[in-house]
């Protein structure tokens, strides 16, 4: 039990940090432009697919750098020629636009890369177990993922708080008019942030592709989860996004590790229901079953009771 819990914690941290790579870009884009980007997870998927394709020619390492750059460039183009065009029509139109974009990217990936799972493997250099705990290996590649994700978080934080560009970006999220009147090119800043956010999502995709599988459905399952994180963390808050990512990652991981559920609760309460009770499905629910539902449950509860999220300053 305890060994499974320790591994669940390790794994939850890993998932959480990976989710943060995604959520950080999304929350940055939201705080600058006020739009939740539905296509964010699609850029994540594009990252994995591009890395796989590039990796066919160059191997893993150049792809790790090239794929995010490529997808980041694509993101910048989308902002410049798509989103900016729709901006005039308001936030609802922007949301609908990114929703359509996610749809198009998923279909395009399916049509041109094919519907099957791609054989995208971790690099040979990292393809060994780092250590063995309670008879279970921890792959070196996962440790590498952990390191990169942590590095990105620290780097992002440093850029935002220590560099000039970072300060301008921060200022632009709260006082866009002032920043513009100081002579900074606000539209260019938007394009850059959107591109950088997409590149971060793609980087997460490049890293996650070999572990979580590279297939056309990979964006759909992740997309909504990232939304949940950004909303729970508080729209526009980087710290909130980190905490929410870890929370969701750990919660899902623990829920699977712990074999508890309604039967245990009922047993503890001393209540018993007949096997053919009309609500028997509810009395049989258990935590591992509910693990993927938990984030949405959390989202709905959060939006009802604390709509600004954990660290939110503004409401949508």
């Amino acid at each position: 039990m305890i060994d499974a819990l320790i591994f669940a914690t390790l794994n939850g941290l890993l998932t959480g940090l990976l989710l943060f790579l995604l959520a950080s870009g999304l929350t940055l884009i939201f705080s600058m432009m006020g739009v939740l980007n539905f296509a964010h997870a699609s850029f994540h998927m594009l990252g994995a697919y591009c890395a796989w394709s590039i990796g066919q020619f160059t191997g893993f390492w150049p792809a790790l750098l090239l794929a995010p750059l490529l997808v980041g460039g694509l993101g910048a183009l989308v902002e410049r020629y798509g989103l900016r065009h729709v901006h005039r029509a308001g936030h609802v139109a922007e949301l609908v636009f990114t929703f359509g974009l996610a749809f198009v990217i998923e279909q395009a990936v399916q049509s041109f890369w094919g519907p099957d799972t791609k054989n995208y493997q971790p690099p040979a250099l990292l393809d060994f177990p780092l250590f063995t705990l309670f008879g279970q290996d921890f792959p070196a590649y996962k440790a590498f993922m952990l390191l990169i994700s942590l590095g990105i978080f620290i780097g992002l934080y440093a850029v935002l708080t220590r560099t000039r560009t970072g300060l301008i970006i921060q200022a632009a999220t709260t006082h866009p008019q002032t920043v513009a009147s100081l002579g900074h090119n606000l539209p260019l800043l938007h394009t850059l942030v959107f591109g950088a956010g997409s590149a971060l999502a793609a980087l997460a995709g490049v890293l996650a592709g070999p572990v979580l599988g590279t297939f056309p459905g990979m964006a759909a399952t992740l997309g909504s989860i990232v939304f949940v994180i950004v909303v729970i963390g508080g729209l526009g808050s980087l710290t909130g996004a980190l905490l929410a990512s870890l929370l969701i990652g750990l919660l899902q991981s623990w829920a699977i590790a712990v074999d508890l559920g309604m039967p245990d609760l009922l047993h503890w309460l001393g209540v018993e229901f007949p096997v053919d009770h009309p609500l028997r499905d509810i009395w049989r629910l258990n935590l591992p079953q509910l693990a993927p539902v938990l984030p949405y449950l959390l989202l709905v509860l959060m939006l009802i009771f604390r709509p600004s999220g954990l660290f939110g300053r503004r409401e949508g």
């Binding site: 039990m1 060994d3 499974a4 591994f7 669940a8 794994n11 939850g12 998932t15 399916q110 094919g114 519907p115 099957d116 799972t117 791609k118 054989n119 493997q121 177990p129 063995t132 309670f134 008879g135 279970q136 290996d137 792959p139 996962k142 572990v211 979580l212 599988g213 297939f215 056309p216 459905g217 990979m218 399952t221 992740l222 899902q252 991981s253 699977i256 590790a257 074999d259 591992p288 079953q289 693990a291 993927p292 539902v293």
Partner: protein, 423 residues
């Protein structure tokens, strides 16, 4: 230049095509009228890969066995029409209506028990309400036992062994392995996953009471991105074998997490090969994945099957002839048509009952009349790259049969109470 002028007309062609879609464009002409078979399976969306290869195999079998040799029933060619159900129950119904509108009498389908059971019920109702336009349903892959059990239909014929038959063979293989004492069952949280778990427990209990089921986990279908937490539980349970009914992305992700964790135990399963899965599993799955299936892949001894595979590969270099039972199904259908001398579904269905044909491997295949379930040899194959002549996904890896259970030993009693229509 000619191409350009023709392209100029294309918008109008498109408009005309759209307009004519309802009226059926395939004019019969003077040629003998083809015998048309509609294949209702996913051709787009997440499950398109499996639907597409199945379609190509049926198409190829029709050409290879019959159309290249002058057709059937005195010169009529077989025409295979793919209708995309997008893996959805509602679209399956619509494509059935499309097939009926076009006067097609034979429906082939198999990917997913949900569309298959919807089809079986819809066809039962349609044939009852419209005795003049009956259609026949040939199921080559949906393995839910209820389709030939509680929900059996006179109009439904299944050419794949049901999941209980496969589980019988799987548990036999597990029971024969003296190293296995603790088994972990993991599956998708829906009817098939729960059915697999239930039959695995009961069959193991009767064959090897000393084997302990150390865990039984159900996970939501298609929702789990990372199976590591589940694998941690498997490791903690000290299981020495895993049974799973997972398929598609869930199967790949599970196998991958098991490999990453360094857990070296056999995985017994049904669907862990072809359509990119074999290539993805590669070295990691070697000698670890064991598959129960009808479709002998290696070693092939019968020249007929070898020639079929070579010819298929020559025509579709990127695909594999992974489901020879599709060819068996066609053989039986055509034999029944020839025997009945007609394509009338009722007569053909009667002719197919208790029919025996020989498949490409020289094995006898029997269609039981009481529940319309076919019986064919079942194999337990291992995922490996040694001794493989016909690999999967051009990866060098493929399936090698370790254990073959003859058809007569897979027969289970029929529980079907069939409502039999009259002419």
């Amino acid at each position: 230049m000619k191409r350009i002028t023709r392209l100029l007309c294309t918008p109008w062609t498109l408009a005309c095509l759209l307009a004519m879609s309802d009226s059926g464009i395939h004019a019969a002409g003077t040629k003998p009228e083809p015998v048309r078979i509609a294949m209702i399976d996913p051709q787009s969306g997440a499950f398109a890969a499996t639907g597409e290869t199945a379609y190509l195999q049926l198409l190829f079998a029709a050409d290879y066995f019959y159309n290249a040799h002058g057709g059937i029933l005195g010169g009529r060619p077989i025409e295979v029409i793919a209708l995309d159900n997008k893996a959805s129950v509602a679209d399956t119904q619509q494509q059935l209506r499309r097939a009926i509108s076009q006067g097609i009498q034979y429906i082939v389908s198999g990917n997913g028990s949900a569309p298959a059971s919807a089809l079986s019920q819809a066809i039962e109702r349609h044939n009852r309400r419209n005795p003049g336009q009956r259609v026949l349903f040939l199921n080559y892959a949906a393995v839910d036992p209820v389709l030939t059990g509680a929900d059996c239909s006179f109009w439904h014929f299944r050419f794949d062994s049901d999941s209980d038959m496969k589980m019988e063979v799987m548990t036999r293989a597990i029971a024969a392995n003296p190293d296995i004492h603790r088994v972990y069952i993991i599956g998708q949280d829906y009817s098939f996953g729960t059915a697999v778990a239930a039959s695995a427990s009961s069959m193991l209990a009767s064959k090897r009471p000393d084997i302990e089921i150390v865990g039984n986990a159900l996970h939501p279908i298609g929702q789990v991105k990372d199976f590591t937490p589940y694998v941690s539980k498997i490791v903690a349970s000290r299981a020495d074998a895993i049974i799973t009914g997972n398929w598609g992305a869930d199967m790949v992700a599970l196998a991958r997490s098991i490999t990453d964790a360094g857990l070296d135990v056999p995985i017994y399963t049904f669907y862990a090969a072809y359509d990119g899965i074999t290539a993805t599993l590669g070295e990691a799955g070697k000698n670890r994945i064991r598959l129960v299936h009808n479709d002998l892949a290696n070693p092939l001894t019968n020249e007929e099957h070898i020639a079929f595979n070579r010819a298929f590969k020559a025509r579709y270099p990127d695909k594999d002839a992974s489901q020879p039972r599709i060819a068996t199904m066609l053989t039986m259908l055509v034999s029944a048509m020839e025997q009945a001398g007609t394509t009338d579904p009722f007569s053909v269905a009667l002719a197919m009952e208790d029919m025996r044909v020989t498949n490409m491997d020289g094995e006898q295949v029997w269609m039981r009349g009481s529940d319309h379930q076919a019986f064919e040899d079942l194999h337990v194959s291992v995922h490996t790259n040694s001794g493989i002549v016909f690999d999967a996904d051009n990866s060098g890896f493929g399936l090698l049969a370790e254990l073959t259970v003859p058809a007569q030993e897979t027969v289970r009693p029929s529980s079907c109470q069939m409502a039999r229509p009259t002419q």
